[in-house]
Structures are given as C-alpha cells and as structure tokens.
Subunit: 186 residues, 2 copies
C-alpha cells in the first residue's frame, strides 16, 4: 500500500527548469532524469503519460501559482494599486529579474499545438483579464484598462525575450520600471 503523492510534486520544479532551458523538444528524458535524480522507472511511475504529461503538469503548476499569487489579488485585493505593485514585484522575483525565461512564452513560440495550446492561452488570458479588472477598479475606463493590460502582459514577455537575447538582465528591470509608471502612476 502506501502512496507517495509527494514524488510528483517534488520533481516538478526540476522538470520545469529543464523545459524552461531546453524547450519541449530539447528536454530529453535523459536530461530530466539527471536533473531530478529520478530514473526512468520512477519518472514513468509518477507520470504515466510520459513527457507530455510532465509538460502538462508543469504548465498546470505554473498556472496555479500565478493564479494564487498574482491574478487573485488583482481581482480581489481591496487596494488594486497595491495588487498591481505586487504583480510587478512577484514578476520580478519569479523571473529572477530577467535571468529566467518564461516557460509558457517559450512553449507558445515553438510548440506545434500539442494540446498545450489551451493551457498556454489560458495563462495569458487570465493574466490580461485579472490586470484589466484591477485597472478598472483603480479608476481607469474599461477600454483603457483592456489596452493597458494587454500591453503590460505582452511587454513582460518581450522583456524576457530581449533580456535573454542580449544576455542583459538589466533590460528586464528597466522594462518593469516603465511598466510601473504606465500602470500605477498618474
């Protein structure tokens, strides 16, 4: 008897990091095995669906983390400006100030719609909508809030791409600074 439900969750962060660095195609099971310290037996025991299920689980975990840490406050925090500032600081922390890449964004660019498309779209749609909600609650007109929210989400992704491309994390910090001005000032 005795299940070990922790194994799956314990391995997820390491698996996520491999996907993040190498992309879906580039993340081989050998690499995943090495980074998690798990053999194929354990890996396929925890994820019977193989690589695809690992990616699914990773995307789900990321989505859940953002939902709880970022989107929920944007929607519900009585102080919407504080929620937006929280979003910016959590984003900075999550992406290690531009040294880390967005797995969801990377998947979006390369993946041939392996069934991840829904999750990928949901991640960004939720972010955009939660932020628009906060902006409206902060007193912005609805149309302006939608536009600003879309711009913010896309700007963060672009900041990650450019920071990585130039190998210059400072790009990410400057981008967050400009974003804060646009979102919470005035």
């Amino acid at each position: 008897m005795t299940k070990k439900p922790g194994a799956r969750e314990d391995a997820l962060p390491a698996i996520a990091e491999v996907f993040r660095e190498y992309g879906y195609e580039g993340a081989s099971l050998a690499l995943i095995g090495a980074r998690t310290g798990l053999g194929k037996g354990s890996l396929y025991h925890a994820f019977p669906g193989g690589k695809a299920e690992m990616a699914e689980a990773v995307l789900a975990a990321i989505g859940a983390w953002f939902e709880e840490t970022v989107y929920a406050p944007l929607r519900d925090d009585p102080d919407p400006r504080a929620a937006i500032r929280l979003m910016l600081s959590e984003t900075d922390a999550y992406f290690r100030s531009g040294r880390r890449v967005c797995l969801v964004g990377a998947f979006a660019l390369t993946e041939g719609r392996d069934g991840f498309a829904d999750r990928i779209a949901g991640y960004f749609r939720d972010w955009r909508e939660a932020l628009a909600e906060a902006l409206i609650r902060a007193g912005r007109p609805a149309a302006e809030a939608d536009s600003l929210a879309e711009d913010a989400v896309l700007t963060i992704q672009g900041g990650l791409v450019l920071a990585r491309a130039l190998d210059d994390p400072a790009v990410f910090g400057r981008m967050l600074g400009r974003l804060e001005e646009r979102l919470v000032s005035e």
Copy 2:
C-alpha cells in the same frame, strides 16, 4: 565545373520557415528536406556544416534583410519619422500581422548558446540602436530615445509571443497601433 550559387539562397526561405515553426531542435533534417524538396546530398552539399550552418545562414539572411530594409532607413533617412513609420509597416508585413513568429526571438528563448548568441544579440542591438538614432534625429532627448527604442523592440517581441499564445493575430495589430502613438505622435 560550373557552380550553382543559387541553390543555397533558394533554399534559405524554406529552411527559415521550418526553423521558425519548429525551433532549432524541432527542425529535423527530414523536415527540412521535405520542405525544400532537397535530398540530404544536396543539403549537405550546399551546407557542409549541416544543421548549424543552415541556422547560421538563415540568421545571417534575416539580419541582412532587416539591416537593409529597416535599420538603414532609421539611421539615414532624412525624414526620421517616415523611417519609423516604415519600420512599423515593414514589421507588420514581415511578421504577417502577427501570424508569423520571430525566429530570432524563438532562438533566443531556447537555444543553449550554440554560437548563435552573437548573431541573436546583434540583431536586437542593431534594431534598438538604429531606432534610438532615428528618435534622436526626430528631436527626442537621448535618454528618452534609448528608453523608447528598447521599449519598442521588446514590445514587438512580446506582441509576437502573445499573438501566438492566444492564437489571435489582432493582438499584434493593436500593439503596433500603440507603438506608433508612442514613437511618432506628440
């Protein structure tokens, strides 16, 4: 005797499209062969260095096209505002209004620095600097021009990521609209 120097250049667009859709790892030689209509023999004759040389050549061709079509006018056109507007319209056309992805950006996110890093960084650095130049010539203070240029380059990349992620090319068009306001209005 008789060289056939055209073969290489003729195949490049098809090869580029494969890299664009599948990423470096995902683009198999079988796929490239099918899309170019070239067998392995021809492929390795035109690109003795194999896949890596194909990617190099594709990146070089993209860089050259942008240099000629976008960066040079930004630096040299006597009407900097017109050059910026040209940049926006050429960008819209090149990325097929958001239906196409940026190969350089996609490589930047996933590639483990296979020697492409320099070319990738150069592509974005040149864009940013040429745009800053145009903004300065249009009357912006240098610091503001640098900031705006970096923001614009990164915003375009983000627009591509988000348009692809949401499978909604309209995102890209809206982003270009906002960008035009920021860059040439006021």
